[in-house]
């Protein structure tokens, strides 16, 4: 296994950023690899040295004083909280929602009126046909009998020897 791979994990081990399983694997590797073990020792030592650098106790009280003074003097305007935002309070969206509702409402009214007109016309037709008869309705035409032919078209009568119908 290439040590560069392990060393990335060794530094992560020092920074306590490995899962238990990963930590176990790295520690097992450290037992078998002198080079990585040396790297681990050096990095641990370096970390301690760097962390031992003097650090300030914290921001001086003047920092908070300045912040609260600036807030009090309303130099900074706070943006409204997203979590308390209500969509219907936004004017643009409210207008858009109202327009959509209006559009669908008027479409529904137009559709209902059309249906009413069609129904009324049908009632008028029904009344008219009951009085005058339905001009669109007639007896179906009798289909032509394929077995029937006029006797004249039969030619000579084989029984009488005459042509055309026998008398």
């Amino acid at each position: 296994m290439i040590c560069a791979y392990w060393r990335r994990n060794v530094t992560a081990l020092i920074d306590s950023s490995l899962s238990r399983a990963q930590e176990k694997r790295v520690r097992t590797h450290l037992k078998t690899c002198d080079s990585c073990r040396e790297f681990y020792a050096e990095q641990t030592e370096m970390t301690k040295a760097v962390q031992a650098l003097p650090t300030p106790s914290g921001p001086p009280p003047e920092v908070w004083s300045a912040i609260s003074r600036r807030i009090a003097s309303e130099q900074v305007k706070q943006s409204p909280a997203i979590h308390s935002w209500k969509w219907w309070e936004a004017p643009r969206l409210a207008y858009a929602a109202a327009a959509v509702i209006l559009l669908f409402g008027s479409l529904l009214v137009v559709q209902q009126r059309e249906q009413l007109v069609v129904q009324q016309l049908a009632e008028i037709d029904a009344f008219t046909y009951s009085v005058q008869g339905n001009p669109f309705y007639g007896e179906p035409a009798t289909p032509e009998n394929p077995f029937f032919r006029p006797i004249e078209s039969l030619g000579q009568n084989p029984f009488t020897g005459s042509r055309g119908a026998s008398k």
Binding site: R7, T11, D15, A52, L53, I67, Q78, A81
Partner: protein
């Protein structure tokens, strides 16, 4: 890193701050003022600038906290603002320097020395001033993308997952950057120690 508050409590405090509660906002400052100040101080190197940038960071937090969608992410969001404030300041300095070209002095991130305002550390007292200067120099020589992850990992002791949230890079990238930063710092220390022998 301050963790004296549960995630639920933090969420509630952030939400109250979002609704404009100054008291809640002060609680957030009490919780995170110190680690943010340390982080800025490590990145910029000068205490007086750290004061100023901490103030700017929290002013921005006050102004923008309403836009934070997930109050549980407050810590990462806060550190990201602090980091951006530092980078903006460094960029402005660089531009100003390029414009004037009269100021020949390098931007010194770590030209500070311990003073009365600094806390005392028993291990720190064992270090010679020279070694402190070497470590500071090593940190200052790091590229910003290495320096911020290094500071967050080694000083602020954040996990790599948390650091990835702050810097907005992948976990793998953070892992690699910290590794490289550690190698660079170690190399400078080794040089110093070998010269001393």
């Amino acid at each position: 890193m301050s963790s004296e508050i549960s995630q639920d409590e933090l969420r509630q405090v952030v939400e109250r701050a979002q609704d404009g509660s100054l008291e809640a906002y002060h609680t957030l400052y009490s919780l995170y003022g110190k680690p943010v100040y340390h982080f800025i101080w490590r990145l910029i190197g000068k205490p007086e600038e750290a004061d100023d940038l901490t103030q700017e960071t929290f002013m921005k937090v006050y102004a923008e906290i309403g836009n934070l969608r997930n109050p549980g992410q407050f810590k990462y969001w806060l550190f990201r603002i602090a980091r951006n404030e530092v980078y903006q300041r460094l960029r402005r300095k660089k531009t100003r320097k390029a414009e004037t070209s009269l100021d020949t002095e390098e931007i010194s991130y770590y030209d500070f020395l311990p003073d009365e305002s600094l806390g005392t550390n028993p291990e720190g007292s064992l270090l010679s001033e020279e070694l402190v200067a070497v470590i500071n120099q090593a940190l200052a020589s790091l590229r910003p993308k290495y320096r911020d992850v290094f500071v967050l990992a080694v000083y602020e002791k954040m996990s790599y997952e948390e650091i990835a949230q702050v810097v907005g890079r992948s976990l793998l990238s953070v892992k690699t950057d910290i590794y490289r930063a550690r190698l660079a710092v170690k190399e400078m220390l080794t040089d110093y120690l070998s010269r001393k022998k």
